[in-house]
């Protein structure tokens, strides 16, 4: 039975699917909830608690860094991983400055393991 929850925020259904596929196969203790926009993610966060959120950078309307700011402003207690194809140094630096883990796509098994292991990082 799932005892941990992860929020997957990415406008790509395929990207979300890769993470869910890996969790279903190897980490059934994790329940994944999907959001395709920042607005949707904020709505979900209002009513559910999560251990981790993965957040894409390039999304319609609100980008991932702006979403992280919104989450921090409201004081939600969860670990955040920025998971993006945008490998530019300034984006990585801005994400790390906000105290989140920055990981690059593509989403491999190794990347998903890093995401869930991040839950235990102090």
């Amino acid at each position: 039975m799932a005892s941990k929850k992860i929020l997957l925020v990415d406008d790509s259904a395929v990207a979300r699917m890769f993470i869910i596929r890996h969790l279903s196969a190897k980490h059934t203790e994790w329940e994944a909830v999907e959001a395709s926009t920042a607005t949707e993610a904020m709505e979900i966060l209002k009513r559910e608690k999560f251990n981790i959120a993965t957040i894409d950078y390039n999304m319609p309307e609100t980008n991932g860094l702006e979403l992280i700011d919104q989450i921090h402003k409201l004081g939600y207690d969860l670990k955040i991983v920025m998971l993006t194809a945008n490998i530019q140094t300034p984006i990585r630096e801005m994400a790390e400055k906000k105290g989140v883990l920055f990981l690059e796509k593509p989403i491999t098994d190794e990347v998903v393991e890093k995401i869930i292991n991040y839950e235990n990082v102090k």
């Binding site: 699917m17 596929r21 490998i87």
Partner: protein
Amino acid sequence: MKTLSDLQKDLLQETINISIGRAASTFNKMIQEHISMSVPDIRLINSSEALDLLRMDQNQEICYVEQRFEGSYFVSHAMLIFTENESLELVKLFLGSGDIIEEMSLLETEAMNEIGNIILNASIGSLANLLKDNISSTLPVCVKTQAKNIFGSKKIDSSDLLLLILIDFGIESKKITGYIVLVLELNSFDDFIDRLMQNLTR
């Protein structure tokens, strides 16, 4: 017509090799297959000449993913292009086999968008890092059309001079070949070259 000096061409070739090498490495992680890539073909051309460089029949049905990137030194239309059949093969490789195969047609566009997003961002993101610039991008758009229409939708005046960078790459074991095309608008070309010179030769 303005031409590239040997030094400029060499500088661009080295820069693009680094950027595309990053894209190839990323692509390899995605599909677990060896990726072969050509030396970049870099030319100053009119947009009307661009199609001739793609070794494709004008009526060939293709599938491409496009993103527009804009920074301080260049505006680029970046495209990842495959024939329609090969794009489907690529999607199968990307998604893997198993219980999702029946959803393949539903996911094809989504998957191509994600493939394009990852590869084009690896290429342009690496270029941005070399330029020490911050580049914004549009979301990826997947288009199915005929080869002759590729450059028709770019809102580039047909008389504009463009810097076109063409790399053909393949997954030999699967007989899939495609192109990465980076079209840089030339009004910022001199600044772009100067910036590369500053950052790569110091």
